[in-house]
């Protein structure tokens, strides 16, 4: 009899200590959100390497009583790395080692396109402020338009950590949707004649230039905008690993094992910030809306500045490469290429669009630095 009694009480106790007894409707909805994001990541291939672990982290975060953010352990260690902005600069080290800045060096004027496309960031900031977000929150939301995940995460952690999950999800989702979002905007804003502009070959870029570029740009931008020195510094260190020709071992590690390890931690940890209290608020819908606005205006900004450059250079610049200035490397450049090819078969814009494309990475980091300097 006593045994049966103890047995029943114990089972009740296990149930009482289980997650089910503390499960809230908020947890249920957030797990559903995680499942939807997993569906997008796996079935729709929306940035699966990032959105996959983010979604899984979101699910993990919504199990009650795990003590992830209270008890010492792996999850708390990952959270520490997130809360202290340790991971985004390491991802940028890998991106630097993967990025070919050659097209940008060959035609520095494309930096202007990379700058112009940041208008999306600030239009979104204006919109967010008008919708009642604080300045810091508005800045973090605006950065979605930069189409740079690590920069968005880096800025959000410092300016609006409670919005991190929504901002990261919006940023990576829209990046995947670039091939759907951009072409209508590009066609609307350009004439057939503009889209048919054939660009001439770029000049040769020497090894000397390739090596000097990361060094000099790290110095210049870090001095101008100290808040992004670690982000820019790591990006350019990674690029120096790549271009120096004598640090291939480090370049390979920065691109592969280190980058993948950090990606697992960054993405899972970002997902683990998605608690019901911070995500299931009306603001999340506004953020998703503002992110779309940012992408559209960023694309438009790049294209319109491309039109200006087209006129200014005597029809030597195809405005379609302007849209690549939002970065989302190399998707956006490929969109320029595809839209250009449709206008005029054989018009191969890809390498021309790579200039604004990589300029957009720097441009977004600069925009983040400006906001950190002015709003933080």
């Amino acid at each position: 009899m006593e045994i049966i009694n103890a047995f029943v009480i114990s089972l009740q106790a296990v149930w009482a200590d289980s997650g089910f007894s503390a499960f809230t409707m908020g947890n249920a909805i957030m797990i559903l959100v995680g499942l939807v994001l997993l569906y997008l990541a796996i079935a729709k291939e929306y940035e699966p390497l990032l959105l996959g672990p983010i979604a899984f982290g979101c699910i993990l975060a919504n199990f009650p009583r795990t003590g992830f953010l209270e008890d010492p352990g792996l999850m708390l260690a990952i959270h520490y790395g997130i809360a202290n902005e340790i991971f985004p600069p390491l991802i940028f080290l890998g991106i630097g080692a993967m990025t070919d800045f050659g097209p940008l060096i060959a035609r520095p004027s494309t930096l202007l396109l990379g700058a112009a496309a940041q208008i999306g960031v600030f239009v979104s900031l204006v919109g967010a402020m008008m919708l009642g977000f604080t300045e810091k929150e508005a800045g973090a939301i605006g950065i979605i338009g930069g189409a740079d995940g690590p920069t968005a995460i880096y800025l959000s952690i410092q300016m609006a950590p409670h919005l991190l999950g929504a901002i990261a999800v919006a940023a990576y989702s829209y990046m995947s949707l670039v091939p759907l979002i951009q072409p209508p905007v590009m066609k609307l804003l350009t004439t057939q004649k503009e889209r048919e502009v054939v660009m001439e070959q770029m000049r040769t870029v020497t090894k000397f230039e390739r090596i000097c570029f990361p060094i000099v740009s790290a110095i210049l931008i870090s001095l101008l905008l100290p808040p992004i020195a670690s982000l820019l510094g790591m990006l350019m260190l990674g690029n120096l690993f790549r271009e120096s020709g004598v640090m291939d071992r480090l370049s390979d590690t920065a691109q592969n094992s280190l980058c993948n390890i950090v990606t697992i931690f960054l993405a899972t940890g970002t997902g683990m910030t998605m608690s019901a209290e911070s995500f299931l608020v009306p603001q999340t819908l506004l953020i998703i809306f503002l992110g779309l606005v940012a992408f559209i205006f960023g694309t438009a900004g790049g294209v319109i500045f491309g039109k200006i450059m087209c006129r200014a250079t005597g029809w030597k610049v195809n405005p379609l490469i302007g849209s690549a200035g939002v970065s989302a490397v190399p998707m956006a450049a490929r969109v320029s290429q595809v839209v250009g090819m449709k206008a005029k078969p054989g018009n191969y814009l890809l390498m021309h669009a790579m200039g604004p494309n990589v300029a957009g990475v720097i441009g977004t980091a600069v925009a983040a630095g400006t906001m950190l300097a002015m709003l933080k």
Binding site: M98, D100, G102, P103, I105, A106, P108, S109, L111, L112, A115, Q118, V121, F122, L125, V126, M129, M130, E135, A138, V198, E200, Q201, M202, R203, T204, V205, T206, K207, F208, E209, C212, F213, V216, S217, L220, I221, L224, L225, G245, V246, R249, P330, A333, G346, Y348, L350, M351, M354, A359, I362, G363, V366, A367, T370, M371, A373, M374, L375, K376
Partner: protein, 117 residues
């Protein structure tokens, strides 16, 4: 800046965009400066002239299928980009001129272990 000068969203937008443009224009000037002082650029200049009569950009080569799924497209992009600079496969090699004496070469091939000592 602990106390922002303005809370007008449009002024913030204007100021930020201005800073972004200033920084990227400064970067562009620096790139031009690097190009101007580049001591290695002479050799490349005539090469640039040569392919000019054939302004048709190189058709994209058939994309290599990479078994491990790592950026085959990126490789193609780089190759295409290089091709458009006037490099052929032979010219590409010339980007990194090998002009080392015996010792340095030795050092290089020994590099892996040595550098970790």
């Amino acid at each position: 800046m602990s106390e922002p000068v303005t809370t007008n969203p449009f002024v913030i937008m204007l100021i930020n965009m201005t800073v972004v443009f200033i920084v990227l224009i400064a970067l562009g000037l620096v790139i031009n400066l690097i190009h101007a002082i580049d001591p290695t650029k002479e050799k490349a200049a005539p090469q640039k002239e040569a392919p000019a009569p054939a302004p048709t950009p190189a058709a994209p080569a058939p994309e290599p299928v990479s078994a491990d799924g790592v950026s085959p497209e990126v490789i193609a992009v780089i190759a295409a980009a290089l091709a458009s600079y006037g490099y052929g496969p032979a010219a590409i090699r010339a980007v990194r001129p090998i002009e080392r004496d015996g010792w340095k070469n030795a050092g290089r091939s020994f590099g892996v272990q040595r550098t970790l000592e």
